[in-house]
């Protein structure tokens, strides 16, 4: 223990003893008691209101405490270790962590400090444990003082744009709080430098006490409320990523009025620390749209402050706008980044549900999409026969229960020209590997765009119809080229039945990598590097980052964009937005393509047919010299020997002729 032993040794240095006042007069004791009572009362006057508001909200019908293990781990990792706080913003994150850890260390110090005032101090500054503990606390105090000073400079001098409010001001309370924390630490450390029994000791003690007692009531009045709420919020969070809670009963249509706000949501909106991490990563906020995830959360808080959780006032109105709610691509960056466990997507999708399930949302493109899903069962509104023609042309076998995989075409794979190319390449690979697969004639859209846009009726109809067809066909395993299909089938359909096992083709390809030919970059005509774009629904939603990279690496040089993996920036298509009209501000797809092109790569590797169409359009506007765009299936298929491809399909033709 190389660090600890010097501390032990230092304990016995004569100068390193904390000075504490002794013998408080009765007047002092009474004064202390009165001040504590006043401070506590001021604290409760605000905190009580908030606590009651949270408790008065509707209960979360689907809440359950299990699995406890996951909750404890999240608490340990995100609260105690401050992992999320540090990961994304290492320096300020670490500074914050030191402030937090010092607070923990100070719990005992503070209890002893107050007890001393009443003559019942329990830590002896001269005893072994007291000396040791005070010294450890002093080290933390030092780190804390430096950290808080640093954070103060960052907020008020450096001024990162994400910390500013809507009106570009920085909260002055944060400055006051930082000052108080600094003072707390300084008045504690000061006691090491004053002689025992002197007046200075007594003054320092009172200064520390007064700082503490002024700090307390400020907590519930400012964003520092997160000190108390966020550990609870992290522990109680829904757990699933972008988890959309089931509708509670026949009168539940999503977030329509204050009555629909649940306790968990209320707890979360009061925990927001206004750090702006969500906004910093939001593709909508970064391209000049009205949507700003922090303001969605703070808007809901404003609503609860003004109207309370029993109000029948519409949630979309003064505090949050419908336009903003429908600009979200459901990329999940905000929820992923939030250090206090706020789940934005249940809120944003909840607001959309409220507007769509009641018919409030009127949008030309959105209406068309829903009608297309209602009437044609696919998001593109194309005739079913088009899909069958494609299946016949590509000689895709029908799924009949004997094959290993049901190949899920999805709307893009079944109808979109670019999506069909991906299917074609993936099928080539499966044929090469000898994997048996089949396609279902009666496959419909998974309902992903309806789900994300908040149309529970269409989503339920599609999910149920598909689940029934899959059961009839006795499908056990599905493979899909679309991360949206994968997520919706594996998670969202659970509300209506038990979906079969499903995997994304990147997972399939990576598993069979060893049996697939590798290619030197030159062989496939791929000179230069490939940048892989992580689709939101594959990365953040499914935690699949390595598999697609393994495929890219086998066929060329991989480079990373500045925002990649869990920080990947959306292509703009998610959340049903691919089907809605023109965007406000800059196009998300163009912004992302800009970032990918900046790597200097000559190929953009994609793993989602939606990213693919978005990038195709954005690249088209760049003209000559734009990098080529390939799905990982196309990259893998390009390395298959041409002779194999031809003879394979020849074999198949032979077989078919013989069958006839």
């Amino acid at each position: 223990m190389p660090v600890v032993s010097p501390i032990f040794a230092a304990c016995w240095l004569p100068g390193l003893t904390l000075a504490e006042p002794v013998h408080f007069s009765l007047v002092e004791k009474l004064l202390l008691a009165a001040l504590i009572a006043a401070s506590g009362w001021l604290f409760w006057r605000r905190f009580g209101v908030i606590a009651r508001r949270i408790l008065a909200a509707r209960k979360d019908a689907d809440f359950h405490l299990f699995p406890l293990g996951r909750r404890c781990w999240d608490f340990f990792w995100e609260v105690l270790c401050q992992a999320k706080v540090i990961r994304e913003r290492p320096l300020p994150g670490l500074a914050h962590a030191f402030v937090f850890w010092s607070f923990l260390a100070f719990a005992l110090v503070t209890a002893n400090h107050v007890a001393t005032g009443f003559g019942v101090g329990f830590l002896d500054p001269g005893g072994f444990f007291g000396r040791l503990y005070f010294l450890i606390a002093a080290i933390f105090a030092l780190a804390c003082a430096v950290s808080i000073a640093g954070l103060f400079v960052r907020r008020f001098v450096v001024r990162p744009v994400w910390l500013a409010h809507k009106d570009k001001t920085v909260s002055w309370e944060s400055g006051v709080i930082a000052g108080l924390i600094f003072l707390l630490m300084a008045t504690y450390l000061g006691a090491y430098f004053v002689p025992d029994g002197s007046l200075a000791v007594r003054l320092l003690w009172w200064a520390h006490t007064l700082t503490l007692l002024s700090f307390l009531p400020l907590v519930p009045h400012t964003k520092h409320l997160h000190l108390i709420l966020s550990p609870v919020t992290v522990f109680l969070s829904r757990g699933g990523f972008s988890e959309i809670p089931p509708l509670a009963d026949d009168d539940d249509f999503g977030l329509v009025t204050g009555k629909d706000v649940t306790q968990l949501t209320a707890l979360q909106v009061y925990s927001c620390v206004e750090c702006g991490r969500c906004t910093e990563h939001c593709p909508a906020a970064n391209t000049g749209k009205e949507l700003n995830p922090r303001e969605i959360i703070l808007g809901l808080r404003g609503y609860l402050n003004e109207f309370g959780p029993a109000s029948e006032e519409s949630l979309l109105g003064r505090w949050n706008s419908q336009q903003a709610a429908f600009q979200c691509t459901t990329c999940g960056s905000c929820e992923f980044q939030c250090p206090v466990g706020i789940e934005h997507l249940p809120v944003i999708v909840g607001l959309r549900r409220g507007a769509v399930n009641t018919g409030e949302w009127e949008d030309e493109h959105g209406g068309k999409l829903f009608l297309a899903l209602e009437r044609s069962g696919n998001a593109l509104g194309m005739a079913h026969s088009e899909r069958e023609k494609f299946m016949a042309r590509e000689e895709l076998p029908m799924f009949d229960g004997s094959q290993e995989y049901c190949l899920w075409l999805g709307c893009m794979g079944g109808y979109d020209p670019k999506g069909r190319e991906i299917i074609r390449s993936f099928v080539e690979v499966m044929r090469y590997l000898g994997t048996s697969y089949g396609v279902m004639r009666r496959e419909k859209c998974t309902g992903d765009p309806a789900r994300r846009l908040g149309n529970d009726l269409v989503f339920q109809q599609l999910a149920e119809a598909n689940l029934e067809t899959l059961a009839q066909n006795k499908v056990k395993k599905i493979v899909s080229i679309c991360p949206h299909c994968v997520r919706t089938i594996s998670e969202d359909w659970k509300a209506y039945g038990t979906p079969p096992e499903i995997e994304h083709h990147s997972e399939f390809l990576a598993r069979h990598q060893a049996r697939l030919p590798k290619s030197a970059a030159s062989q496939t005509g791929q000179t230069g590097q490939t940048v892989f774009h992580d689709p939101c629904y594959l990365g953040r939603y499914r935690n699949v980052y390595e598999e697609p990279r393994a495929i890219v690496r086998a066929h060329g040089d991989l480079v990373e964009a500045e925002r990649s993996r869990e920080r990947s920036f959306c292509c703009g298509a998610g959340g049903g937005l691919a089907f809605l009209g023109e965007e406000q501000g800059a196009r998300v797809s163009e912004t992302r393509v800009e970032q990918l092109v900046a790597t200097g790569a000559t190929t953009i590797g994609a793993a989602c047919p939606f990213c693919n169409t978005m990038f195709r359009d954005a690249l088209a506007s760049r003209g000559e010299g734009a990098p080529q765009l390939l799905d990982i299936a196309q990259i893998a298929a390009a390395a298959l020997p041409t002779s194999v491809k031809e003879s394979d399909s020849l074999n198949m033709q032979e077989e078919r002729r013989e069958e006839k």
């Binding site: 509708l247 026949d250 249509f253 769509v356 399930n357 009641t358 018919g359 030309e364 959105g366 209406g367 829903f370 009608l371 209602e374 009437r375 044609s376 005739a383 079913h384 026969s385 149309n455 529970d456 009726l457 269409v458």
Partner: protein, 256 residues
């Protein structure tokens, strides 16, 4: 304003059509059904009129039990109540017979306006609505794109051939058959479906209505359109062949 909308349930657009064993109609098992498209527009017009001027929208449909689902869908989109003429052998009636059933079923309704789609997506006769107006003795107008309420009755926009339109002033009660595509259809909502559950749906047994069921039109047989691939050689000088090709692309294939 009290508006009755007559809607028909038809096989979905892309259904895989097979002819049934008797050869007189298509096989209906394995087929999904939808609301007839122009009827959906008729319903939308009725709902818009109700939203603007108040009143009641009643949907009327005939057919077997499954038709109830289409009526529910109309109720979910905002219609107030439904009338279902229940019959498992509606195919035995011709357009006149169906119109007679409908006339009888709504005899007591005293509607101001009756809307239907222009024609059905399956048979495409365009007759039932017009005959119904005759049976009820009220004026009618077909191919309607727009309806406005006026002091005296209604003013409608009617589509003619070749991009021509006609405005007609009519008194009510009247019957209009509605052309597709002029308004934006609303989507069905969860709230609508839930509300529809408690709306009135009156079932009238077709057998209990005494109408003259004698057919004046009968359907002998149906057949799938045959598709043949033929090859034509265009002969002559290159210039002639090119001219002939352009002509064919324009007139026969209609791609130019």
């Amino acid at each position: 304003m009290k508006i009755i909308v007559a809607i028909k349930q038809v096989p979905e657009r892309d259904a895989r059509i097979r002819i049934d064993s008797a050869g007189k109609w298509i096989a209906l098992d394995e087929i999904e059904f939808r609301m007839n498209e122009s009827d959906a527009y008729a319903l939308e017009e009725a709902l818009l009129l109700k939203e603007a001027h108040g009143g009641e929208v009643v949907v009327l449909s005939a057919g077997p039990e499954r038709v109830g689902q289409t009526i529910r869908e109309a109720l979910a989109k905002g219609a107030d109540r439904g009338i279902h003429i229940a019959s498992d052998k509606l195919g035995e009636y011709d357009a006149l017979g169906v119109a007679r059933l409908m006339a009888a079923a709504i005899a007591d309704e005293q509607a101001d306006l009756i809307l239907t789609g222009l024609q059905s997506d399956d048979l495409g006769l365009g007759q039932t609505g017009v005959i119904l107006a005759e049976l009820l003795g009220i004026p009618h107008s077909s191919l309607i794109l727009k309806i406005e309420k006026t002091e005296a009755g209604i003013r409608v926009l009617r589509e003619l051939e070749d991009g021509w339109f006609q405005h007609i002033e009519m008194t009510t009660p009247a019957l209009l058959t509605i052309q597709s595509g002029n308004t934006r259809l609303r989507y069905a909502t969860l709230m609508g479906i839930k509300k529809a559950r408690s709306k009135e749906l009156r079932v009238v047994e077709a057998d209990a209505i005494s109408v003259d069921a004698a057919r004046c039109v009968s359907l002998d047989s149906v057949a799938l359109p045959s598709r043949q691939k033929t090859t034509q050689m265009l002969t002559g000088t290159p210039a002639e062949a090119a001219a002939a090709l352009v002509e064919k692309l324009q007139q026969e294939v209609r791609v130019l």
